[in-house]
Subunit: 434 residues, 2 copies
């Protein structure tokens, strides 16, 4: 299936940000707006794109090229009439696209998950429009295109609707019917895409699809640009984030990732950086002495924060790989091990009691098995059957606190108890939820 | 979909084993023959059964009841003509079964996996017969029903075929057509099921399905009974079994499981028993002294052997549960941890060198992460891209050897190196195979 992207308009209201760039090329968290649209569709399985360009179209074509850099194929259509209604841009694709196709706007930012669900729908005639039925603070209702629905059909669409049920999100799954509909609309004096959709709606051929909890933003001024950035970052918070992650690590790591996405640093490099910090932390414990122990503890917490960045950057730049995620999880375990090894040695040096090693062993076992049991346990967390999650974020935070206060022997005892108790709790919880 | 099971015959040639039992009730590795057939079909998703009984039918009905004990529904049909051809037994189900159905013999033992594949096939008319195209030593070719095939169709079937392509395994996926076919066959003087199948074959309505590498046995005398037992046990050897498991642990654990299936001991109880042995092993190391260390090492190896039995018994008695497998894997990790903890303490007591603890830590980390990486790695092993597997079986065997020779410090160093090197090897192998 092909995707058609409309990237012809000028975007006057965002000139501050765009400077001399056409709006689709405005950079947002490491990718230009149109790159994000293309990669979102790619993630949902689309490999062929047709981009309609107009205002500064050459710049867009130069940037995206034939699409091979993104692992897709991109063809272009130039629309010299870009100053007129956007229905004309869509109409330019007539004859170049057959069967059902995805239609998107180059300046909309949205949760890529919506496409995966949408593309599963069948469209023989007419089409499906993604709409937003929630009242969201950031939407400029005045300027938005509204829709009125009845059952599964769209009954009316337009900016001027007084009574409406949702907002047009600018994402469509369409059949070729739309081209005739736009022509019909143009004949009656309306050259917008909404005009064409309205023609289909009046014939009872336009259905809707609710975007639900997922976010979307029509970027057309500085304010909505900032909203898009904020919502994109917010979407990186995981359901399985523990309390320390949610309130401390994630807010910091998101700020770091926001910077890192504009560099060439890869997610795997970040994973190894976090790992190296943990290794250094473990080694510093071996130096002994309060100052070293405190520094080592702080370093452990820093590595815990950095450890959030690899996944964030990967998701923001569509560089997620199954191997990358797995590699990260394996080296995180080694990182945990080295830190606890260092703590055990330091405790033993201080207390000269072999029980430091025994508790170190138990803490290591408990920690590694926390991660081992997490695979099953997180399925339950995601189903919202359990809300509290005692994980790596909490462990490393406790280690930092224990190291700063010099109570590392006590911290090892505490970790031995809490991590292993947590594992037993999980064994029981999983038993009752499978 | 329903399954029809023919359990009407007498089975004269197996009287030695059956004594006063009807053949379908002869116990084999913890389950009677017919129970195994029912549970195999249940595992493939079948929930409704019709059993045709004849010789000592009452005993069978008493034993199986309404099937609720097996989580299925069982109805019975009595065939007073059980002394005549088995086509009559099948014909008794006419009118009681609609649409496609599975037909099996109560005295056949086979790999349950075959049903999962077979039931995915569609059958509108005629049917599909599972055949064996391999020459297997244990099959009594003289007495077997042979088939001749052409393309995907069965052309002829019968005991007397001189040229043939495979053996009838006694497992069928049939449409209701078979009832008319049997009636037609009876009219022409042949009251066997094969007669009916032959009628369908001649009409080009009978297809075949190759059982492939999977085992099956028609149990009709003492020799084939023993073959069935042997092949069932052999099917428990896993592709991911490491070398020590394959040549030492598995042969012993299979002998133990063969005994355990006839008791009420559950797989989970066996898991906990193996775990307890490891815990005791770990504690005995704390006693110190060569004798204690040697005993602890032996106990670790014994627990490794017993650890194979839980899965074996579970699979033999259809008691496999996802939770059970997971629980086993989690407590195995604790078992590993306790043994290595004990070894580290004993090494430290002997050498009075804290490096014993450091290597203990590294060995523990390497061992636990062996299991952590195994989840991904085993996918590659199963695809036969890699043959060697360094796993728990090898680790515990090395621990036993090290303990018997008193070289536990050296063993910890060795395990630290080998387990962590193996993890690095896996990181690289998985990278190149995903």
């Amino acid at each position: 299936m092909k995707a058609l992207i409309i990237a012809a308009g000028e975007g006057k209201r965002i000139r501050n940000l765009s400077r001399d760039l056409p709006k689709p090329l405005i950079p947002l968290l490491g990718l230009s707006l149109i790159e994000r649209v293309i990669l979102s569709a790619r993630e949902a399985g689309v490999r062929e794109f047709v981009v309609v360009v107009g205002f500064k179209g050459k710049r867009i074509m130069e940037r995206l090229g034939d699409g091979s850099r993104y692992g897709v194929k991109i063809d272009y259509i130039e629309n010299p009439d870009w100053r007129r209604g956007n229905g004309l841009s869509v109409l330019k694709a007539k004859g170049l696209i057959s069967g059902k196709f995805l239609l998107m706007m180059a300046d909309h930012v949205f949760d890529p998950g919506v496409l995966k669900d949408l593309l599963g729908r069948s469209v023989d005639k007419g089409g499906i429009l993604v709409i937003d039925r929630k009242r969201r603070e950031h939407i400029d209702v005045e300027d938005a295109t509204k829709v009125r629905i009845e059952g599964e059909l769209i009954r009316d669409i337009g900016k001027g609707l007084k009574d409406y049920d949702g907002i047009d999100c600018g994402i469509f799954l369409l059949s070729e019917d739309v081209f005739d509909a736009i022509e019909e609309s143009i004949e009656s004096g309306d050259d917008t895409l909404s005009g064409g959709i309205k023609v289909l709606a009046k014939k009872g051929r336009m259905r809707w699809f609710d975007i639900g909890e997922r976010f979307w933003v029509d970027v057309d001024n500085e304010e909505s640009f900032k909203t898009a950035e904020r919502l994109l970052l917010k979407s990186l918070v995981k359901e399985t984030d523990g309390p320390v992650s949610r309130y401390l690590n994630r807010p910091i790591s998101l700020r770091i990732s926001r910077y890192l996405v504009n560099t060439k640093v890869t997610p795997n490099t970040i994973s190894w950086l976090s790992f190296s910090l943990s290794m250094i932390s473990g080694l510093i414990y071996f130096l002994g002495g309060w100052a070293s122990i405190a520094i080592a503890g702080l370093l452990a917490q820093v590595s815990s924060i950095i450890d959030g960045c690899d996944g964030e950057v990967a998701r923001l730049k569509f560089q997620v790989s199954r191997y990358g995620g797995w590699l990260d999880s394996v080296i995180d375990r080694y990182a945990d091990g080295m830190i606890i090894l260092g703590m055990s040695y330091a405790s033993w040096i201080i207390a000269r009691n072999y029980m430091a090693w025994v508790f170190g062993f138990l803490a290591l076992m408990g920690s590694l098995l926390n991660s081992y049991t997490a695979i099953k346990y997180d399925q339950i967390v995601k189903e919202r059957k359990v809300r509290f999650r005692f994980g790596r974020d909490v462990r490393l935070f406790v280690i930092m606190l224990g190291s700063l206060t010099g109570l590392i022997f006590f911290t090892l005892i505490f970790l031995s108890l809490i991590t292993n108790a947590e594992n037993i709790r999980r064994l029981i919880l999983v038993r009752h939820n499978t």
